[in-house]
Symmetry: C2
Subunit: 514 residues, 2 copies
């Protein structure tokens, strides 16, 4: 069927969507979310049909992604045919039915994801089915491999290549800003790629960006690593495992993360890591609530690493409160720099040297923690951090006070005397975000108290920093509502830990299988 | 935040979507699929954010659905704020976790569905979770009630109101074209609403449309029913249970149907049915493969009916081949009219009088089947059918030969002698669709043989009808490839029934619960 192209002049977020009127769709025998094959001159592609009922029946509408690929202009004639559904969709359906997928089937799904042959609806169903049915380790391995194969690779031609990753969830965790220079200062290669914050007040890339540019090309990254042994860059621009980036977008509103293992490990594999330490913050208010859960996850990481040819160990770390006192990109960069200069909080330093120490021992050194501590004390780690900042295009001489933080401040004080019983990670993060983090880099929260500390009536519990008064006001209001820090004279006063509402799981009506 | 409206002049398929540039989204602190509240003058609404990276940062793009509701024009300033996620989303997430939902929670989900506050991604995840975890009967009831409450209602102020519904899946099932006039001829009210084909070659609305208009307003339907006791109209324009229509769109590419029970029963409840017979075609090639499965489904229908205050009975019918010989809108209308005139195939007549007979017995008559048969034989059903056709605006004197069918024909013949062992419902439907059905109403298939019939070498197995030669050619090719009718001299020649490939279900890796 011949239709006239109509360019919409906007993007569909990399989705491959074509608009048809009811009438045209009906003549083609396709429905919304069926596929059509579009041919223009020598170009051909598959698009997913959306029905736009007010569209002229002799036209087909293209978002910019498609019109660019085809090189077609408004008014030109294209040939449109119904197309088969992508093969990956049948394996998505198999997963919905609870089947175990084979390596080859997973590879086809991931290819269809990257080529945008699967719609958001189908991807949402897939990740939901993965979340509910779970993945076998064979499936996890196949997913990780397929994600690596369909993305870019960083080839450094060096060995060993060390790396570190946290499964996240703890505000203020600026440990990577210490570990990377410690490892690099010892002469090991550590090409650290990080993400920006999605739901948190700061990702490592956001923190580092207050010190130097993080948006480097693969070639620039190679140069920095060749010069300094390490780097601290944003991974998003590199197209490492792009399927993972698509899955993350779909998972975001659903708040599920069934691909945690292949997601993390595919990105480590894509930068060629030979030795990886995974930090698993554990406890109340974290992703893994108990050491038992953390260990189960750790063994899965280690197993997956073995299957991918990467040496993996895990650190189960205390995660029941933020790391250090600072939360928010610039505040955290300040605290990291202070710590590398010898003045930072104990928990941050302790975590950094422990995790760096395990990495040292993984590559054959002895007394890893002591070695890491020595690199910190001697100033070698600081020197290395400044080298990396310089190589990435920042000011190597930057002082703590020169990292700009928001000048709008407010203090949240205690209404009575007490001991800090709980700091809610999620609530503290919400307050920091309300203040403007991560978008406004100087915004965030500085804690004045940590678990177990004694606070006097009217004593400062935390301080909010913002770049704008409206954000400061909003954050103060939220802080008062959420009360992220709980004080109590005696734990005995709070005997009720949780209330279980009346909900029953399962017991289903008859369900057709098609 | 103030942004300039930019109208996109196309529809988004009733979705409530606003486009923002990366920069604007980031300043607002929202991501793709977050919600924003848009205010223009006295109008306010919630939209789901899509990121269009080439959009000017001071603009917000609106599809026609939104711009119409707001009454805004390009270039005008609107106020945009981040909005809370809809309450329904938290219950969607609870269902993903496998929780049982309460009535109130389901009502909120359904309201959010109808008001388009939930994205396709979230709806896909919801129906997938429903499909995998299943629904309790309490949840099913709550869904059916909420779907009725959020839609239009047909109020006839009469009682009893009879209705009939088939769960579908059998090509050529034109039984409703007989049952409706039989019931109405006996003086009972039967306001039959039907759907158009989605994946089949003909829905009841498509068949009736070859006799008279089916796209009636609620007021017109009332008039027809008041005049004739019955009607045969398309339900799609009536906005009965619109949430169901949205769910069906989402389920279509996923090929799942977890809402079968509330979907059917909400529409029966919305037209005020007091007595409903559900036809459950059963056997190989149908939705319910065994009588055991069909009974389980039947008891669920009966239970749900009781909860909704509707008297429900079910008919488990033989579904291992098409009903009658004709498949395709016009061909089926011809066969239905022939049958009401006394000349049709046995299975169609037998099914119609049995199902109508149960309905008669449900409202207190005795010997329902005989009563139905008598109405057919006496010509009263025919007279009623013609009354309904006339009331809906068709030609009441129409003859079988006047219903136009495609004049392009081809016969598929047997390559050898044999007995008909199997007629594949799905494959026959595919051939009829390839020939042009349901869009081209004269297209379809006429069977010349049914199960158990003996066929000679070169004997006609079925005939394909089309309105266009290209479609005819395509259908012939597909018929040769699919071979929908299987012949064999002896069943003993086919001992292998199915092959079970090596797939294992379940056994999962560690899964984070958030």
């Amino acid at each position: 069927m011949k239709l006239k192209a109509r360019l919409l002049d906007i993007q569909a977020g990399s989705k491959s969507i074509a608009l048809l009127d009811d009438e045209a769709a009906s003549l083609l025998g396709v429905h919304s979310s069926d596929r059509i094959e579009i041919t223009y001159k020598n170009e051909q592609l598959i698009a997913i049909v959306n029905i736009a009922s007010n569209f002229p029946p002799n036209q087909v509408g293209f978002y910019e992604e498609i019109s660019k690929k085809l090189g077609v202009r408004t008014g030109e004639t294209v040939e449109v045919h119904p197309a088969e559904r992508p093969e990956g969709l049948s394996y998505v359906r198999a997963k919905i039915r609870g089947e175990r997928l084979r390596e080859n089937e997973i590879r086809i799904i991931v290819q269809d994801v990257v080529e945008r042959h699967l719609s958001d609806t189908e991807l949402a169903s897939f990740v939901t089915a993965l979340h509910i049915h779970g993945l076998s380790m064979d499936e996890t391995e196949a997913l990780a491999k397929a994600m690596v194969e369909t993305g870019s690779i960083l080839t450094l031609d060096k060995s060993p290549i060390l790396d570190k990753h946290s499964i996240g969830g703890i505000p203020g965790d600026k440990t990577s800003l210490l570990i990377t220079p410690i490892i690099a200062a010892a002469g090991f290669i550590i090409p650290k790629t990080s993400s920006r914050a999605v739901t948190s007040p700061a990702g490592t890339a956001d923190r580092v960006e207050t010190l130097c540019p993080v948006n480097l090309t693969i070639e620039e990254i190679k140069e920095v690593v060749n010069k300094t042994n390490g780097c601290m860059v944003w991974g998003g621009a590199m197209e490492l495992a792009p399927a993972d980036d698509i899955f993350i977008q779909i998972e975001y509103p659903l708040a599920i993360d069934p691909l945690l293992l292949p997601s993390i490990m595919s990105k480590k594999k894509a930068i060629g890591a030979t030795h990886v330490i995974i930090d698993i913050p554990t406890g109340r208010g974290t992703k893994t609530k108990t050491i038992g859960q953390a260990e189960a996850l750790a063994y899965d990481f280690i197993d997956l690493g073995k299957r991918l040819g990467t040496n993996v160990q895990c650190a189960i770390t205390f995660g029941e409160q933020p790391i250090g006192y600072a939360i928010g990109p610039a505040l955290e960069a300040r605290e990291a720099l202070s710590t590398i200069l010898g003045n930072g909080p104990v928990d941050l330093k302790e975590k950094a040297i422990n995790v760096a120490g395990i990495l040292f021992e993984m590559v054959g050194l002895e007394n890893g923690k002591q070695k890491a501590e020595a690199l910190l004390k001697s100033g070698k780690a600081e020197k290395k951090l400044r080298e990396i900042i310089e190589a990435q295009g920042g000011n190597p001489k930057i002082k703590v006070g020169e990292i700009e933080v928001g000048d709008k401040k407010a203090e949240i004080t205690a209404i009575g005397e007490g001991r800090v019983l709980r700091i809610d990670n999620r609530k503290i993060a919400q307050v920091a975000r309300e203040a403007g983090a991560p978008r406004e880099k100087g915004a965030g929260v500085t804690l004045y108290t940590k678990l177990g500390d004694h606070v006097k009536k009217d004593g400062v519990i935390f301080r909010i920093h913002a770049e704008r008064n409206t954000k400061l006001e909003a954050a103060i209001e939220l802080a008062k509502k959420l009360q992220p820090v709980e004080l109590s004279k005696r734990p005995e006063e709070r005997m009720l830990m949780a209330r279980v509402p009346t909900r029953i799981i399962r017991k289903k009506t008859f369900m057709l299988e098609r």
